[in-house]
Symmetry: D2
Subunit: 368 residues, 4 copies
């Protein structure tokens, strides 16, 4: 069952609330003998961490990861490696200011999961959104760091490609720029324009949505599975499971609806190393299976629901009220979704790699 | 594992190729005591069936379903009902013209899964695309008919809302129009315009993409689950698993990226029967859990890859070649995806209904 | 969810009742490129088939299997092979004599699942026990035949080792004898004695239990998984899922409870091809993982509950009554459980082989 | 996938090695609104804890459990309850004496999983058996304490019923005696005799096996599922997954093989509250589904493999050697398996309760 677990052979389970003592993830099914270190995981966590710029929440969380199980020092080379058993990772919550929750406690915040959790469970951890908090995504990013170790030869990168109505210009696209601006944006000119734009949004006490593009290069043909195990279906599920995500597309995505068959189908040519595609409208996936081209996935993040402008809502005993969400919030949560999207891509691919290897005994396609 | 199965408590497994003797589905976990009949399933199958108009493939398949197991006549009322055991449904393939496959056999058709199946498995059923054929969707539609029986009180309908670049006008939206035109389109004016447009495409030997909107009304609050079992994540996976689908969105979807927080979060008011939302940008899902509003999902179908215009490709032994796909194909496969989208919505909701009932003992939310 | 499915990577789903039109199985996750033929499957089915001797039910079922999907002729060698997609197998029910079910319909037969199915589902297919019929095991045997193809190099055999209170003498054990007597018994002397014994039981209108031993040779070290994926745990589940099975043991089994540590732990010695064990009390499994020795599993089958002697029972409206089960029944269902036990062993091993290969990239252990 | 997870709707995942910083369990799918406290979990953990008598290992572990997530104080009554989200429980390892592992490191201990872990993974945490340590069972016991909360009305108890060759006398059976002796034995006379017997074994540096019987009373008819989801199959898997377990039986178990049909099938009579069974050879399960009688399961634990007597083995580089396991070990690990068996019974029943409720909407059977 997938309530709080994701994946099949490479499978992780996350736990923890935003204002409890800690949160964490258990990664099960990881291949043995992979080098695993806190540094490696911390590197990815630090990219997701709040408080990195004035454009993300000023909540201060160290997000220090601890490895509690599943690794052992290989005496043959002194490197700490996965043992094939569950890797348990824990991140303690440190910034739990004592706070007056009376307002949140008795009201449903519009756009949040307050109302639906209350309805589903009849009880709700109203401190910092409980389990619905975006803090859960730290656990995914940690799992994603393990997944990257599984995926030798695969490079996974992501970029913000749209903030509010402002899209990047793909002519400026440069992966090297992603870490050079506070938006994880591969278009440096767009990033520059967005600074002013987002400052305005932030000062208005408002927020804005975004689109993230994740690209995996080096995926061999053959990963994925037919029908309900399609690589595209699992990517859609993975990205849609991220907080605030409302849309996912692969390759040309929604744009494909507007195209004709002659425009859309990627043509093939014979190359020295086998066939290749002359375009990548498919986003690297045909019939749910990777075709050797970069796997390209985009997803839309809605604007942060916690805003300073008062919004109409109801109390838990069904009276009209207004809600103003004070506190430390991201004017554009989409920014921090960039490393999260990378992590989910890594987890999906690691899982499909192992599933493909299990069924076929091969690492990728058969060649010709 | 989900290769050819979908769902958890309400779980179905499909099998069969387009040119084998039959295809089918096994539905496991269906609640007992639900009236089940071939007529009921056939009704849904007939909507998906090819050859209904000049705008769908002229392949002639009766798509007659047989119930092989899982039902029994209840003597107390003479009604044949589910017994709680696996319901096996089979549809024989009848229109398997003997045909020359030599062309398809030795070439990879662009936009199809020929190349990726060959790479993954080292062997490929090239007759009618084998397992990658859209004929598999008949099995889903049959499963969806069972799922609808599970969902008393829920109404699931879908409409084509975009064909190629042409979108419907939501001001004309009328569910009663959906079955009055060959496009399952709720906007009769758009449907009229599309006739000429698609005739042109068809005569050109070309094809075109589409967008389908699926709406479920009557879903109580509380269905769905946190994190990786989100209703939205499972819908995304469900729709993306349909042949040729490249994008999925919930509620405002990609549009949400362009909105500000004040525009996007649906406000709430106290009603006599409990709180209600004044808008439905969320598409009926908050934090992965249904909020009582209609569940709204859209997905994009790429243009049919089988077209009469020659396309560049390679042979299985990696030589350049051209491919012209003759034969009987849909100029817009999106049309027949309408009942398929409904079926997948039904299956996702039936599964989440049972999962919610299992965990909480309730049919929906707790009220106040 | 495992209601009617078994396995993870190599996963099969069975369907069908004893008196419906057919029963069958869908095998998902099978590796591609394995030779698959009806003859191969039929060979195993014929061993389970009723009516083979006077010691099994005289019900006449041809048990002819049809392959409906998942195979394709490889033109490189003309051999029909698995394609990696679901293999659907169907067996039509042919011996459904029209019969008076009024007695069974209104009474719960002791030892049968009549009462529990009625309680669980509120409706019950009382014709030939419906889904609880041992006819379901034909579907497993068919799946097992596919699993054997996955397991090149592994030999799986089983023998009846106890009938009623009469155990075999392991000194007489000879695998070549198994198909030389009507009991699938490796001890020819025991088999001879059992003939008279079982004739007596049969003529009394009584029945008797049995113990079956299944042995898999050629399993490399390394298959299985820690904790809840133990090879032993999956074997226990597999055998206990067979109709009428009430006990399962691995290696020394219950006998191990009576032993001391010095007697029980298999000692090791250095061999030319690596370490070997000087005994096999462990039944080839240590810590849930295969150790390279034969995997040895035994299970107990209770006596057939359908007997001619009247037994006390109740009617469906809770009145005292007596039940006499007429009809064609096995005096010792344990006999036909022999090929079923082999099939389940094959399915468990095939699944663990693929899972091990998925996680580690190896076919077995690492060597030294 | 079930590597380190167990259950479907009520699903738990354990992690941690014996000599790492901690071990733990994540319980997913727990119903909301159940009272959960550390005291409640600690009570069960303390029964499993080592060092309780001279008959269990003198390793000193406090086994203090911490609840890290998934509970919240209900302000309506001040009780801390499950929220329906993952309950993460952690137990820190405190007794990790610095120790010389050089002997264990280079040798495979007979009867242990050293050899098979090394073969499977190519790397092995040799400190305290790593993941194969029985310390993992603390995590199960913690999960079982949660499961008991799910099972209002069900009483689960266990007793040692055999130590080495010495069986209890069921005429002396008294559940109230179980906690009055160091063996969790319901027969006080047997317990008295076992003291001397086990002292002898212990002083010899030897060990001995045992049989545990677990009984669940108050299970309504209707839990369990057909075929591969049988209650008996899941119990078999659950018990066989416990360290050192080599056999499992339900009700009459292996004894059923020796019985005739007239002896074995439990007869039924009409009672005021519906039908009842006049005996319980079935162990409360018919066709995999509970029949309302006590669910009775027995399992055999092999003797502790760690003994003081030298045993023949091999080194990791395949040379003959002897192994003497020094250190703190249980002369009869079966004793501490008693609370573990109870925990696994609770987890299986909780899972099937929720699965049954999900599929049927009922808590148990339909009545008449």
């Amino acid at each position: 069952m997938s309530f709080n677990s994701f994946g099949q052979l490479f499978r992780f389970t996350t736990w923890g609330e935003s204002h409890g003592p800690a949160l964490g993830v258990v990664v099960d099914g990881c291949p043995p003998m992979l080098p695993i270190s806190t540094e490696m995981i911390q590197r990815d966590l630090d990219r997701r961490k709040p408080g990195q710029s004035r454009f993300t929440t000023q909540r201060r969380e160290a997000d220090q990861v601890q490895i509690l199980s599943g690794t052992f020092e290989d005496e043959r080379d002194g490197v700490t490696k996965s043992t094939g058993t569950p890797i348990s990772l824990m991140i303690e919550n440190t910034d739990q200011r004592s706070k007056d929750y009376s307002e949140i406690k008795d009201k449903f915040r519009p756009g949040h999961a307050d109302y639906t959790y209350q309805q589903k469970y009849g009880i709700r951890d109203y401190k910092g959104s409980g389990r619905a908090s975006a803090r859960e995504t730290a656990a995914r990013v940690a799992a994603g760091a393990i997944a990257r170790q599984v995926l030798a030869g695969v490079t996974i990168r992501a970029s913000l490609v749209q903030m509010g109505p402002h899209k990047i210009d793909y002519d400026n696209f440069d992966w090297d720029q992603v870490n050079e601006n506070p938006f994880f944006c591969a278009d440096p000119k767009a990033a520059q324009l967005w600074e002013g734009y987002l400052d305005g949004i932030r000062k208005d006490g408002n927020s804005v949505g975004a689109v993230i593009e994740v690209v995996a290069e080096g995926v061999p043909p053959g990963w994925g599975a037919p029908i309900y195990g399609k690589l595209s279906a699992d990517l859609a599920s993975a990205m849609m499971s991220i907080n605030a995500v409302k849309a996912v597309e692969i390759g040309a995505g929604f744009e494909a609806a507007s195209l004709t068959g002659t425009e859309n189908a990627d043509e093939m040519r014979a190359g020295n190393a086998g066939p290749y595609f002359t375009s990548n409208k498919a986003g690297g996936i045909l019939g749910g299976i990777s075709n050797g081209d970069p796997v390209v996935c985009r997803f839309a993040v809605k604007p942060t629901s916690s805003i300073l402008s008062p919004r109409q809502s109801v109390t838990v005993d069904n009276h009209d009220t207004d809600v103003v969400t004070k506190g430390r919030h991201d004017p554009c949560v989409g920014i921090r979704a960039v490393p999260i999207g990378e992590a989910m891509m890594a987890c999906v691919l690691a899982d499909h790699y192992l599933r493909h290897r299990g069924q076929t005994g091969r690492e990728g396609g058969v060649g010709f």
